[in-house]
Each structure stands twice: as C-alpha cells, then as structure tokens.
C-alpha cells in the first residue's frame, strides 16, 4: 500500500475534491485550449490570459475546466495555483521543473527524454505543494494524467505567443 499512499497524498486528494481556480475566462481575449489524454479520455481545458502591468513583466491568469481522474484534476489545480499571478519566465521555470519531476520515468517507458536538460535534478523543496505529485513517477501510466494540464498550458502559451 505504500505506493498507493504515495500517489494519493492528502494534498492531492484535497486539490481533487476542492479544485482551485476552476472556471472559465472570456475567450477572446483569453486563450481557450483543450487537452486530451488519449489513454482515458481525460480532458482539461485551460483558459489563459496575461495582465497588462505597464512596463513591468505581464502576469498570467489561468482558469481550469474539464474532468478526469484525481491525478489529472489535482495536477491542473496545483498548476493553476502556481501559475496564477506569475510572470512568463517564472512559469517557464515552473514547467521545466515540473517536467523534470515527471520525465525520469517517461524515459523508461521507451521514449527518449525530450531534451537532455529535462533530466536535471529538481529541488523539490522549492516546489511547494507541487512536489506532492512526485509519487506519480512510481506509476508511469499516470504521468500522462499529471502532465496533461501542463502540456495544455504550454500550448495555450504558444497560442498567446509568449
């Protein structure tokens, strides 16, 4: 049972039961991006917008819709919580760290790592609640659940041309 308890940590169950930043943004101006997990049909819809901060770096606003398992939905909630109010460079760093957290096992599934950099060790202490998703790496199939919202976020950022 230790593996299971590692997967279903309290933080994850909390975000699953009480998802943060759930809702929609008007689109346009916001980007509306759908993501599917072909394995199970889980669906995440990411709404993304940037604020106008004058001369300062704009900040990102994100809302989450869709449905799916505890891992995909809690990961989306955790993602939204970390992204909201962050600048683009901060978010890029977050994405990189999160993918590192996950990608170790993706390699073992038979893939090449996306790029070598993604194999840098991550400092989970600095990741806050996000680190709770670490237990997922013991369950390779669930990595796709955990990364779904993040990949969708990346696509939305591309659409926003940031």
């Amino acid at each position: 049972m230790s593996g299971l308890e590692d997967l279903y940590r309290e933080i994850i169950l909390d975000h699953y039961r009480n998802p943060r930043n759930r809702g929609t943004l008007e689109s346009p101006p916001a980007i509306r991006q759908e993501g599917f997990n072909p394995l199970c049909g889980d669906e995440v819809i990411v709404y993304l917008e940037k604020t106008d901060e004058g001369n300062n770096e704009p900040k990102l606003v994100v809302r989450i819709d869709g449905r799916g398992c505890s891992i995909s939905q809690s990961s989306a909630s955790l993602m939204a919580q970390s992204v909201n109010g962050s600048t683009v460079p901060e978010v890029r760093k977050l994405i990189k760290d999160f993918k590192s957290l996950m990608s170790i096992h993706e390699t073992n599934l038979g893939g090449e790592p996306e790029d070598e950099a993604s194999l840098d060790p991550v400092d989970t202490d600095k990741m806050g609640e996000l680190a709770a998703l670490q237990g997922v790496v013991k369950f390779p199939v669930r990595i796709k659940c955990a990364t779904l919202s993040w990949n969708t976020l990346l696509q939305a950022m591309e659409e926003l041309e940031i």
């Binding site: 199970c40 049909g41 889980d42 505890s70 891992i71």
Partner: protein, 417 residues
C-alpha cells in the same frame, strides 16, 4: 443469487490450468483478470501450436515448392477455413480474409468497397455505441467522399431506439453496426436490421469483435455482407484479425494494399490482381498467428458457445447483484437490464471516484479492470461521462474473482469516496 451458477456449467479450476498467466501473483495476491473484452488470455495450446509451427514447418507461404512451405501454406489455409466455419461462412476458403486486427478489416471495406461505392448523396448508418474501429474509418471516408453519416440513438438502458426505423434507411448505402457493444454489452438486433437494410438496398457490415468471443455467430443466418472480428479476443494471438465478406462483393472490390501475393502479374505499367481472398492479403501474412488463432478457435469450440453463454450470464447476474447490494446508490451500472440482451461485461461508475483511480487501487489488489473511454468516445459523450470502469468475463473467471473485485472496490470507496 447464483453464487454457484458458474461452477456447475464450466469447470473453471480446470480451465484456469490451461492459462498460466492466471497462476501468477503479485505481492502474494493472485491475478484476477477482468479485462477480457480488451484482450483475452490464451490457453497454452495456442502457444504450443505456434511454437510447434515454428519448430517443424515455418516457411513463407503460397510461393514455395518444398515440403515445409507446402505444409505452412496448408496450415495457413486450414486456419482460414476454421475461422470461416466458426462464423458459418458459406465459402470459408474464399470469403475469409486475414488482416492484422478487426480494425484493419473494417478499414479494408471502407477503403475499397466504400471508396468505390459511396458519394455525396449517400449515407452510412451506424449507432451511437460504436467502437472507434467502426466509426473512424467511416469518418475518414466521409472526408474523402463527402458522404454523410447518421446515427441510431440509444435509450437509457443502452439499447437501440428502433422507432420509425424504416425512415432511418433513407439514402443509406451501408449499415455499419456493432454486434455487441464493448461498453454496454448490448446486443443489437442485427438480423432484423440486416433485413431492413437489404429491403432498402443497403449493405451491412457487422463489427463482431465483442460478439464472436461470447456467442455463436452465424453469417449465413444473419445474412450480413461483411463481418469483422479479431484474434486476440477469441483466445488467439495478437497480430491477426478476420474479415468475412460475401464472395461476389469481395470479387468486385478493388484491391486494398499492393505487394506480393495479391497479384497475378506485374509489369512496369500496371498489375493484375489475384483471386479472392489473396487479392486482399498483400505481403507475407500472419502465418504463425493464423495457426495460433486456429488453436484458439478449437479451444473455444471444444468448450462450446452454449456453456460459455450460460457461464457468463451467471457471472453477470452475480456481479451486478453484488455491486448493487454493496454500493447501492453510490454506483451506476450501464447497459441493458436483462442479462439475455447482453454479453459478459459490466460498465459502472461511482459518483465520487474516477474510473482511473478505481483501476489504480484495484491494481494494488492485482485485479485488472479497464478504466477509460473504451475507444467509444461518442458513446461517452452520449452518456455524459468521460470514462467508466469496465469488468468483463471469460471462461476462466468465476465468482471468486467477483468477490475479490467487491473487496477491492470497498477499499476504493473508503480511500477516495
């Protein structure tokens, strides 16, 4: 309750001995395999037949003059006849095409018969409970030919709504329909619909991937024009599927893939196609897989569809009763209420737990169930779900498996409910 129903019909303990994977265990828990609708396990006789083939006979087929090549060809063609007889094809040696899976079989029809015979004014009639294998090929054909696709609706029991059915055949050239839903278990009235289709000048393709493993399939009686099923769900190996088509239709169809074996002559300018069924079997076919499929069919027919059906109905009753008794309002079961109207599988969902999480926690008990859209997304949209949990039965399952399932599910609900 029919807790002892299954042991009376089949000697499951004895059957399980033929399936070594069922003797494996993880963390001291034996494997409880409840995912035969995705892929069945296979008896050792199937592996032995293939190994024996490789040990004594292997050579490429249809082109060799020497003995082992002749024997390989004979074994391959014998498997074809066996597959044909299983579904009572009138001319098995001509009307059975080996493909790589059921999906390819359906695509073959779409990309040969379909491309030639369908145009903008034509309609393909199908249902809202099809597997993607019997839907995406038609959606692709729609893109290519401009034909339309219309769908028979289902009611709240997951049965087809047949009111005013005659009008649904307006402009229809093909009815493409499942013989058993892989999500609901529903067995639509394909014989009746085939009569209807023929009366209206439409042909019928039946997706029997979930039917052939469970019920006697008789294409002569049904009178369907095409039928597909897949080896790995009928105790055969992966890598092989079966297309049945009426001789005169196969004869008239253009070839599918080009290459060796499907030709009579090739010049720098063009080619002449071979006779059916070889016209549709380009390249080296799945020879050992055909031999294995033959052995799988032998195993299945030795047990007999009568016993299989009765056994499964017993498990169905036992399982749905146990689920309802244990979880009451918390659980929803999908599909027809009457066990006689369905095959041996049950899809269900809990209000508060996602199927993925259900399957994950059951895996900790070494119980295999499927969670997801089951390659039937339009049906999921229709049911207003993104996924269900599905348990499916075969001859090697018994009520102990279901008891284990219930214990596992109780823990699921405790953890995440």
């Amino acid at each position: 309750m029919s807790s002892s129903a299954s042991p009376r019909i089949l000697n499951v303990d004895k059957i399980r001995k033929d399936f070594p994977i069922l003797e494996t265990s993880k963390n001291g828990k034996r494997l409880v395999y409840l995912d035969s609708a995705a892929s069945s396990q296979r008896p050792d006789s199937v592996l032995e037949a293939m190994d024996d083939y490789y040990h004594t006979t292997h050579a490429n087929v249809h082109r060799g003059v020497y003995s082992i090549a002749e024997n390989a060809t004979a074994l391959y063609e014998k498997a074809r006849v066996k597959a044909g007889k299983l579904i009572n094809a009138p001319k098995p040696s001509k009307e059975i095409v080996f493909t790589k899976n059921a999906t390819e079989a359906i695509n073959l029809v779409a990309k040969t018969w379909g491309l030639v015979n369908l145009g903008e004014s034509d309609v393909i009639l199908t249902t809202k409970m099809e597997h993607h294998a019997n839907l995406v090929p038609w959606l692709m054909l729609k893109e290519q030919t401009g034909c339309r696709i219309s769908y028979l609706e289902i009611d709240s029991n997951g049965e087809l709504i047949l009111d005013d059915i005659e009008s649904k055949f307006d402009g229809v050239k093909l009815l493409a329909i499942t013989m058993a839903s892989n999500v609901l278990g529903t067995i639509p009235p394909v014989k009746y619909l085939t009569e209807m289709a023929h009366k209206n000048g439409a042909l019928v393709l039946a997706d029997a991937a979930q039917f052939v493993p469970h019920r006697q399939c008789d294409v002569s009686d049904l009178d369907v024009d095409f039928l597909a099923f897949t080896g790995h769900k009928v105790m055969g190996p992966t890598g092989i599927g079966v297309l049945y088509g009426k001789e005169e239709l196969l004869d008239a169809m253009p070839p599918f893939l080009g290459g060796g074996e499907m030709i009579l002559d090739v010049t720098l300018e063009g080619f002449k196609t071979n006779e059916i069924p070889w016209k549709f079997e380009a390249g080296t076919p799945p020879i050992a897989e055909a031999v294995g499929l033959g052995a799988g069919i032998d195993y299945l027919t030795a047990i007999g569809y009568g016993a299989i059906g009765e056994h499964e109905r017993g498990l169905l009753d036992y399982c749905s009763n146990s689920l309802k008794t244990t979880f009451g309002e918390k659980i929803t079961l999908y599909g027809p209420k009457e066990t006689t109207k369905r095959t041996g599988l049950i899809s269900f969902s809990f209000e508060t737990v996602h199927p993925h999480d259900v399957a994950q926690i059951l895996d900790d008990h070494n119980i295999c169930v499927r969670a997801g859209h089951h390659c039937a997304k339009p049906l999921m949209y229709r049911l207003g779900l993104s996924a269900t949990t599905r348990v499916s039965f075969s001859i090697y399952n018994d009520t102990h498996d279901i008891d284990a399932l219930i214990i596992g599910l109780v823990q699921v609900v405790e953890m995440l409910g």
